[in-house]
Symmetry: C2
Subunit: 763 residues, 2 copies
């Protein structure tokens, strides 16, 4: 009655019968539209966004995760979220902040020796070449704990976090210069620049400062270089969003500000709150900085050191003519350089206009020495009239501007109106408006802050979702709305809930520019891009003990961990290095030790290490946390933590299985049956043009790898059988069968792939 | 040239012109289908899944997050992810594990005094009443660190984590009994039951054990009750997935197992690995337990205490007739009781069949004392033939079964074949098969493991995505595929990437059964459901100092934090309690202190506390991390950490603003203009049947709240003006204006809502 794992040709036939050419379902399109109350417009939007199984998105978005401290990756137009990348916050699925290598990355972001376990990720920026996104690196800042992180887009991993040496908070970062020479960030809330130094609020004007930091980027190393980085000291004006010049304005950066009133609240003392005093005056200041010349000044030794970091003082900056101010409508947020680099568009949240500044006019005023005044710190102020190209009335709460591929066309978010305005910044005409839900913050067009915007789509990053989605309790998701901008009229085509984090800004890149890998060279430390000292190849696995230090050099492959038993004594310091020996795409293994708070994620080729003190006696199972194969539950082992000085009592053969020759013969029979199936799958695959499909070629390689392990296990079961050791004979024969099952699994995947991708028969 | 924030009727008109009745875009449906290579079938799938802005999903899914330790919530059929809920892993967007209240929840899950910062979340279960999902609570287990968590579906927050007192790992949980009397979990990898006790592997058979734990659930309190919970000791068979009986089988639970060979690997010592030895025999054991009688035995004092927990020994369980075994095809995963409670379907991963056991037959055998043998621990074994209803050959790697609303219809995932089989468990006929990508683990139909499955949709929880989505590096997302099961033939209609975590199992509930709230009673500790001792109402804010302990009782409202300045000395212990005074839906505030690793998320009505040692001198800004209003950047304050014994030098009036009477008059003028806009919006709203829209009624209440704050600020600016104190006069007038802006913002939202929801004019 019981059937063994009968991998018979009959089963394959059954699969073929049902697996392909499914008849069409009964409900018609009209039925569905009626049942779901879809309009023709809804259907058009569905057709514009729906992405069938296996088809790819046109653009890939990188969105900040706000207080989640993470980076969110999603596709356009499907609006499906592809990945959360751990940046400022530990995340165990990725092993980020759990293995020693990524702990080191997070440690780079500690402040004053204090561990920081989260971030307020705000503005992602993709590396640029000649002002165009090049798809190599991504930078993102942390507002709460002023830091910048580097993510490598070859593997979507965070490689570096640097803490700002002089700020207490920041906002205007990360932004990149046109060739990613520098990644920069502006301070936010003014504070003393010296580390751990208190000055009373009464000395706000004298001792509190803002600033602008330029981090030097070494593209070849893929890392920021703190020693070659510098800052420009700025007045305590709450610097905010920034942007880099490009084309004619390359070499300059622009940073706006709020609360240039330098107001200090104190509602608990009866004083009007910050919100009243920080928005009382009509204008704040746009900061205009010649960063290229600033870098030269630093090279000439004109910077002072604050906390070991190069800082150009306001005095030096003014004297050397690299720092200027221009009044801007109060409490602005976005400052956005046009694709041609000629204009800088500022949105003043409490003004109904956007203000288009002309870089040429600003430069002319500077050259002519035509300033309307100096600010209290002696910085020359260019008059608004002398700097403006035009001002355009758009609506309530203009916040951020992005650009179209069509010349002069811009899109600006209106926070209070909850709208997006499409307008022409050359002639100042408003072209279209569309309502969004609700309270849009930033917006984003495709490569829309680069020198070559791609048009097509716009995403409204709405801060509230209120009634848009099924309710999930008091804490709501955010709402990113996709808008089709290919036509004169904007059309809302998708609402996407953001399930974790509060994105502030996002950038979208053409999908074809990204070429991430699927595996590492075997033994790679992915956080340093170097060979991992703890790497091991198959057969090199070992456990070393030196004093109370136990070091494991282990490997992982479907479906076993080597070693399967790790022995330690209470008090030992245990380091476990693990290399994933898989080459197959998506064959990640996880590693967890029960109740010891140990976890890691190890992608193909990667080596990681975990470290812990064996501080409690007992038996602690470990296992692979990824469902990596049919026998993933059996990918297990035991950490044995023995009392100090434990002596084994008389060893007995507890694991004797009492298999018989009949068991062994039965297993051999199963191996023969299974091989027949594998042969039939191989025959099928090789009867097609499978070599035209790189994914199938990889699968075939992977299956061949699995089959390649068989001779060793076969030699073992035959040797044991020769000694009539039926236990070992049967068990090693079982292991042969396990390799066969894995090969068959991959073979069937390859067959399905070929069926579904229209493979052709070849002779 | 500069315009102030001219909230004029003209702007509103502009908004009306562009905001509604957008003309239709140029591209036709046929154009779009051609451009995007969509087939008619794709279009039908799009129509079945696309959910226009503001429309809701029919079902809500709760999916485990695997090694992320989180719970993932998404909608069907749109497959949009609505929320990640923090369960076993800290997550800062939610403040989970960052405020003191949620830290306490996580602390409940510490093991042996060791902090555990992640979990391997496996199986969510929704609370049931009479075997039907009731939508009140959700339970989920942690495989790595054996624990169970309780999530309250009124606010989607984790309320409790309990650590299993006797296991080292578990898998077969969480499952609930038909009226949620108990939530249960089965052990996974055998280990000694005593805490921190080592026995060598040679004593595996004698000293290592599995088990089954039944956690008593107090539905009124919404918490598990450890003191009323118990376990049944089981042999070291690697217990696995479980299910509860229902209808005729209510009172019983079913748990399968693998590695009943009790094999111990050791590949590093030349022994065949676990995977070979753990799948060598044809059958493992289905454990059949009478939990209702077990609970009575515990009440009668027949349990022994292990680590303070009630455990019924194998000996007692056998003697009292509550524990039986039935052979099952080897290495099974799913054990799934049919909706009518009559059958138990077991999928043996290494068998091509599913096995349908008859509860009636098992009971008959037990009653007749008809056992084929006893296992090595003396447990009676019912013969397979005596227990089976039938066995049905489905394909390679059957893993898990769920049910349709149609009688006798079941769906089983086939891991190796990467297919779903639809079949009839009454007559054993295979009805349909569909290919999925790739390697499906669990599957899920709508309420498909309850007594009342809803049919309609099925989700395949695939473990690999390989080539399905745009590449995002070596670590791939998972892939949940949505399948329409309303017709005879299954139809694949959506591929959803899972961007964070590796879901194992999921449950889906009719959306209408969920009724979460959007706000708390003001001053609630959401983790205890009680009044928070640190709560404060408006006007009650204060800072208290006792010795070196500084305690703040603060509040948050658009757009200020009270207090705005917090003073401490180095070494002080600072506790900050914060109450969100908002009533408006989705008006969450965040709270961060720069560089002090402090963050919290405070939803409307909630009170939280954060605690830290002011261990470094300096000035540390704090701010609201949610984009809560136009002036959210100005929702800020300063933590001043002074050197010990700091004495203020001569105070000077550093914050003098030098406003003039003209400034004050200009602000008053702006207030009058803005009030005119507000009046026009109010007139518009009240001219409609807005009372028919509860969401608008809430917005009107919220706007009225904002306007209600004006008289106090008005009194202040008038009093200051009376004293010719133009600084305070202008600043308090500005504050009046800020309240107006917030009211106008909400009013405009309400107006848009009415426009878009077809509000009618009333006289």
């Amino acid at each position: 009655m019981m059937s063994r794992f009968a991998v018979k040709a009959a089963v394959l036939m059954l699969a073929a019968t049902f697996g392909t050419g499914t008849a069409w379902a009964a409900e018609s399109l009209q039925d569905v539209m009626k049942r779901r109350s879809l309009s023709q417009q809804d259907l058009l939007a569905a057709a514009k966004t729906y992405t069938p199984s296996g088809k790819r998105d046109e653009f890939v978005v990188f969105s900040s995760g706000g207080q989640s401290g993470q980076l969110i990756v999603y596709g356009i137009p499907s609006m499906r979220i592809l990945k959360y990348v751990g940046v400022f916050t530990p995340e165990p699925w990725q092993g980020y902040g759990y293995d020693e290598e990524s702990k080191d990355i997070l440690k780079g972001g500690w402040i004053d020796g204090k561990e920081i376990t989260w971030g307020d990720a705000h503005h992602p920026a993709i590396s640029e070449t000649n002002g165009q996104y090049d798809g190599q690196f991504l930078f993102i800042n942390d507002k709460a704990n002023p830091r910048v992180a580097v993510v490598d887009l070859r593997d979507f991993e965070t490689k570096q976090i640097v803490a700002n040496p002089i700020y207490k908070s920041e906002h205007g970062g990360a932004f990149v210069t046109a060739n990613t020479e520098y990644v920069f960030e502006a301070a936010q809330y003014p504070a003393p620049l010296e580390r751990k130094k208190f000055y009373p609020l009464e000395e706000f004007n004298e001792k509190y400062r803002g600033g602008m930091t330029y981090w030097k980027f070494d593209r070849k190393a893929g890392r920021l270089v703190p020693a070659q980085s510098f800052s420009v000291e700025l007045p305590p004006y709450s610097q905010d969003i920034s942007d880099a010049g490009k084309g004619p304005s390359d070499g300059w950066s622009f940073t706006n500000s709020f609360c240039s009133e330098r107001y200090v609240g104190g509602i608990e003392q009866g004083r009007p709150p910050f919100e009243a005093g920080c928005s009382a005056k009509d204008t704040d200041y746009l900061h205009v900085i010649n960063w290229r010349k600033a870098a030269e000044l630093v090279a000439q030794g004109k910077a002072q050191k604050i906390n070991g970091h190069n800082v150009l003082s306001i005095e030096t900056a003014v004297k050397e003519g690299i720092l200027f101010l221009v009044p801007e409508p109060k409490s602005p947020h976005g400052v956005d350089v046009t694709p041609d680099g000629k204009y800088i568009i500022v949105s003043g949240k409490l003004d109904t206009h956007v203000s288009v500044y002309s870089f040429e006019k600003i430069q002319a005023a500077i050259k002519a020495g035509k300033f309307e005044s100096k600010d209290p710190y002696g910085i020359p102020v260019v008059g608004m009239r002398d700097a403006l190209h035009n001002q355009v009335q758009l609506g309530l709460g203009p916040l951020h501007t992005q650009y179209d591929s069509k010349q002069c066309v811009a899109y600006t978010s209106l926070y209070v109106d909850s709208q997006v305005a499409k307008w022409n910044y050359c002639d100042g005409k408003v072209l279209d408006k569309i309502a969004v839900h609700y309270n849009i913050g930033h917006l984003m067009t495709m490569e829309g802050d680069s020198a070559g915007p791609k048009g097509r789509y716009l995403v409204a990053l709405n801060k509230l979702s209120i009634d848009r989605f099924n309710p999930v309790g008091p804490l709501h998701p955010q709402n990113h709305q996709l808008i089709d901008i290919s036509n004169d009229k904007m059309q809302l085509i998708y609402d996407m809930p953001l399930p974790l984090g509060e994105p502030h800004y996002a950038v979208a890149i053409e999908a074809s520019k990204l070429k991430p890998g699927v595996r590492y060279k075997v033994g790679t430390d992915s956080r340093t891009d170097k060979d991992h000292p703890g790497r091991a190849r198959a057969g090199e696995e070992r456990t070393e003990r030196k004093g109370n230090k136990v070091t494991v050099f282990g490997t992982l492959i479907r479906s076993h961990i080597t070693p399967e038993i790790i022995e330690a004594e209470v008090g030992d310091e245990v380091t476990i290095n693990l290399t994933n020996l898989e080459r197959a795409e998506d064959e990640t293994h996880g590693f967890a030790i029960s109740a010891y708070n140990v976890h890691a994620s190890i992608e193909p080729g990667k080596t990681i290490s975990v470290k812990f003190k064996a501080d409690k006696e007992g038996v602690y199972p470990y296992y692979c946390t990824e469902f990596c194969s049919a026998l993933h539950l059996e990918m297990q082992g035991y950490l044995l933590v023995k009392p100090k000085g434990w002596k084994a009592v008389a060893k007995k053969d507890a694991v004797k299985s009492n298999y018989t020759e009949a068991d062994y013969r039965a297993t051999l029979k199963r191996i023969v049956d299974t091989q027949a199936v594998i042969d039939s799958v191989v025959a099928y695959i090789t009867s097609t043009n499978f070599k035209d499909f790189p994914d199938v070629v990889s699968m075939v390689e992977d299956a061949t790898d699995q089959l390649g392990k068989i001779p060793d296990a076969k030699a073992k079961h035959e040797a044991a059988a020769g000694k009539k050791d039926w236990d070992n004979a049967n068990l090693w024969a079982e292991q042969v069968y396990q390799y066969q099952v894995k090969a068959a699994d991959i073979g069937l995947r390859a067959k399905t792939y070929l069926d579904q991708h229209g493979a052709k028969k070849v002779k």
